[in-house]
Amino acid sequence: MRADWPLVVDAHCHLGAFRNFHIPDNDIDGMVHVMDLLGIDVAVVAAHAGIYADYRFGNDQVMAAAARHPGRVLGYCCINPNYSSEVAGELERCFADPAFRGIKLHPELHGDYPLDGPAYRPVWEYAAEHRVPVLSHSYFAGDPLGVFAALADEYPTVPLLLGHAGLDYGLDRVVGVVAERRNIHLDLTGPLSWDGVVEYLVGELGPDRLIFGSDMPFMNAPLQLGGCVYARVDHAAKERILGANAAALFGIEPGDRRDAALAEVGESGAPA
């Protein structure tokens, strides 16, 4: 049986080299090649340079990548709170380019700057005014889960993507916090490699706020994609997680499939 994934959006991608380790073929052509192998239609990209040093260099890389692969590559605007006077201007510069559809915050790599600190305020205000999705990294030593909850409450019109689904907080605690906050969406990047994550979250929250992401090229995309494709949930839920939910958030129109690779995977996930 041929599966039909109308759209696959990888909503958590990076781009380029990373100082901490070697990444083969990390340019946009290397990424699009992997997207073709996997049947990923669209990648939403925050350059590694953008989440570390330096944000302007990284956002320029994303602009060039989106121009090189129109329709396949969309961008997150990255800002660095340590350059607080430049935050508002960089948001304006990025969003003048229609390829930018979201904002990526990475407090850890910007000195663990607090997510609710003053230098991030222009981001939340801009996102609230323009209803731009904001994806923020989460990790064990970063902002507590309650900070995400408080920001979601303070800015109810902002679609807030909780990076890595808050894995390090424990998914049961995450479910308790996000269940009643409809503007928090769970970025499944990372948790997808654990068996049973999709089943658990669909069971607790339903599929409508679960977003597929891979961290490509920071991590290996098929390990993440396989965690969703082979999950023991129904086909409709997978369609939402793989693409439909992200399409709604980022304003992506379902287009022609770029590759039939995933169409050979059966409904249960088993090879057809």
Partner: protein
């Protein structure tokens, strides 16, 4: 394409994040293999890792023996081993003979000093005799450092292990995705080092590693039931590699290594007998 997963376990693990822990039986493991499309698996027992190796190994063999046809013959038992100095395990030679006698053709160690590890050194004065005994029969050894996702293996110990035991096939489990700068020179230097596929979490990683060192250096493995078996399968199925390379990774290399177990030892015995007569 036939898939042989080198990295699975059964039993009731203690559990950790993301707190989705559950017990898995031999039949449950095979049911997942059937669902995903994996034919065979090398399996250890959770209690051999998380309680006591000898107890877990015995439980594994008992549970496999009691498993129905169609389950038992799909699973290859893996023995978790320790150095002998505390008396928790037999001396290396009888230990390996016992493993072989029980049909075990693959071993696994958890040498890390973190809580999830068995806390022993791989240095020759601690593990040398054990490693030599495994080397004499060329029993593949899965080395699991129980690394955190940002972790870094103890390179010096891997270097010494590979250098001192060139005839021992070593499979590095869960080497993670941030270690190529030190991993690659080790792979270049030591042909007996192998990498478990899904534990190599690198963008384009299988392709890059195979291009540099050959597909025979990668062994298919998932980490199920903690990790997604489907993810591991998709990683290999969609890799931009020739079918012959994917076949080597899927099962070819490990099947050959398992078939070779004991042959080197027998060859040496024959040689010794020949020299003596």
């Amino acid at each position: 394409m036939r898939y042989l997963d080198c990295n699975t376990f059964i039993g009731r693990p203690s559990g950790h994040r993301p707190y989705l822990t559950r017990a898995v039986t031999a039949a449950g493991l095979v049911a997942e293999m059937d669902r995903v499309g994996v034919h065979d698996a090398a399996v250890y027992h959770a209690l051999a890792h998380e309680y006591a190796p000898q107890v877990g190994n015995e439980l594994l063999l008992r549970e496999l023996a009691e498993a129905p046809d169609g389950v038992r013959d799909r699973l290859r038992p893996v023995g978790v081993v320790l150095p002998p100095h505390t008396g928790e395990m037999p001396e290396p030679e009888p230990l390996v003979a016992g493993l072989l006698g029980a049909g075990v053709r693959m071993a696994r160690i958890f040498p890390s000093s973190v809580m999830a590890g068995h806390r022993f050194s791989l240095a020759p004065w601690c593990s040398g005799e054990l490693l030599s005994a495994l080397e004499r029969v060329r029993m593949p050894l899965a080395v699991d450092f129980t690394l955190f996702r940002r972790g870094e293996p103890p390179w010096r110990e891997i270097h010494d292990l590979a250098e001192n035991h060139p005839g021992l096939p070593v499979i590095l489990m869960d080497v993670q995705g941030r270690n190529n700068r030190t991993l690659y020179p080790l792979l270049k230097r030591f042909g007996n080092l192998h990498i478990q596929s899904a534990g190599f979490n690198v963008h384009g990683g299988l392709e890059d590693l195979c291009r540099r060192f050959g597909a025979h250096r990668v062994v298919f493995g998932s980490g199920y039931p903690l990790r997604s078996m489907g993810g591991a399968l998709l990683q290999l199925q969609r890799a931009d590699l020739p079918a012959a390379d994917r076949e080597l990774i899927a099962s070819g290399t490990l099947t050959r290594l398992l078939a070779d177990v004991g042959t080197a030892g027998r060859a040496k015995e024959k040689e010794a007998i020949g020299n003596a007569s």
